[in-house]
């Protein structure tokens, strides 16, 4: 039986954010926005959803008198991402057969 694809991750922007954050230790909001080609508003909403799911940590601070938001994946987020990729592989294996 197929594992259900995690609805939190199975969305284009949220998956893009998680894929980016899984590759780094932490990243600034502006970096994520630049790499995902998204608008600040849309990205904020999706980041908030990932945060509420406990998949990422969002840290807001001031750097050189400017607000800086950094995001990093939590252990729960890593587990969810791994499960998502495993589920994807299962779907694709069946598709090949």
């Amino acid at each position: 039986m197929f594992k259900e694809l995690d609805p939190i991750l199975h969305s284009q922007l949220r998956l893009a954010v998680m894929s980016l954050l899984i590759s780094v230790k932490e990243a600034e909001f502006t970096f994520i926005r630049e790499k995902t080609n998204s608008s600040a508003g849309n990205l904020s909403v999706q980041v908030q959803k990932l945060k509420e799911a406990g998949y990422i940590e969002v840290n807001k601070q001031f750097k050189d008198n400017y607000p800086q938001t950094t995001c990093k994946v939590t252990p729960k987020g890593i587990g969810a991402f791994e499960n998502y990729v495993k589920a994807l592989q299962e779907y694709l294996q069946v598709g090949k057969q």
């Binding site: 199975h10 969305s11 284009q12 894929s19 970096f31 080609n37 994807l88």
Partner: protein, 229 residues
């Protein structure tokens, strides 16, 4: 293209994951300034020390102070780079840890080099004996000998190779791996040579470990920067 909320197929999901991981990898940059700085400082200090010994000339100051003073621009570089850095990779954390351990090791080795001989003299004098220089060629009178760490530069060369190889392997940066491998060879050679030539080998180490990889990194950084304009 803005990424809106839209349903993905399995293939699209997988493509998106690969695409974003590649983007993160390509975002990594190293300005190459730090390896250039340390490569130059250690090269100048080692080579000038070699020249001083070869031509029996002594500068009015210790040339190795240049390495100490290199810490100041390094701090400025770190502050500047941290301002522009928008992310930290797992590799950055590992490489930083390696260079901190390297700096601590080097600091310890410098203390060892400067403290142990004087302490050894005191300890053996307290036991009621001293080390003497006895010539086996002629019948000159024996002279008291200050203990010293034989071929200490060989140890420094060995220590230079460690963070370079680790950084090269972690970042998959071949010039640093090659530099470190050459340095291990130079370490073996230095075990058989006198201190004067060890300094020459130390200068070569600075070039192959840091200066040449630094030039390569700098070129690739400038090329990448030009491409982004």
């Amino acid at each position: 293209m803005a990424r809106e909320e839209q349903q993905l197929t399995e293939q699209e999901s997988l493509r998106l994951i690969t695409d974003m991981i590649q983007k993160a990898k390509k975002s990594y940059y190293d300005t190459g300034i730090s390896p250039l700085l340390w490569g130059s400082a250690v090269f100048i200090a080692s080579f000038v020390t070699y020249l001083q010994q070869e031509f029996d000339y002594k500068l009015p100051f210790d040339i190795w102070l240049i390495v100490l003073f290199a810490i100041i621009p390094q701090i400025v570089i770190n502050i500047r780079e941290s301002k522009f850095r928008k992310f930290r990779s797992h590799n950055d954390i590992a490489v930083d840890a390696i260079w901190i351990v390297y700096a601590a090791t080097l600091f310890g080795l410098i203390i060892y080099q400067n403290v142990v001989p004087a302490v050894t003299v005191k300890l053996i004098n307290a036991e009621g004996w001293q080390m003497m220089k006895h010539s086996i060629i002629n019948s000159s009178v024996d002279e008291p000998l200050r203990p010293f760490a034989p071929s200490i530069t060989s140890i420094f060369i060995l220590v230079y190779a460690f963070p370079t190889l680790a950084t090269g392997v972690i970042k998959q940066f071949r010039p640093m791996i090659v530099g470190a491998v050459i340095t291990y060879g130079l370490f073996i050679i230095s075990c058989f040579t006198e201190n004067k030539y060890d300094m020459l080998l130390s200068a070569i180490t600075a070039l192959v470990c840091w200066f040449i990889p630094g030039i390569i990194l700098r070129k690739s950084y400038l090329k990448q920067k030009k491409g982004n304009v």
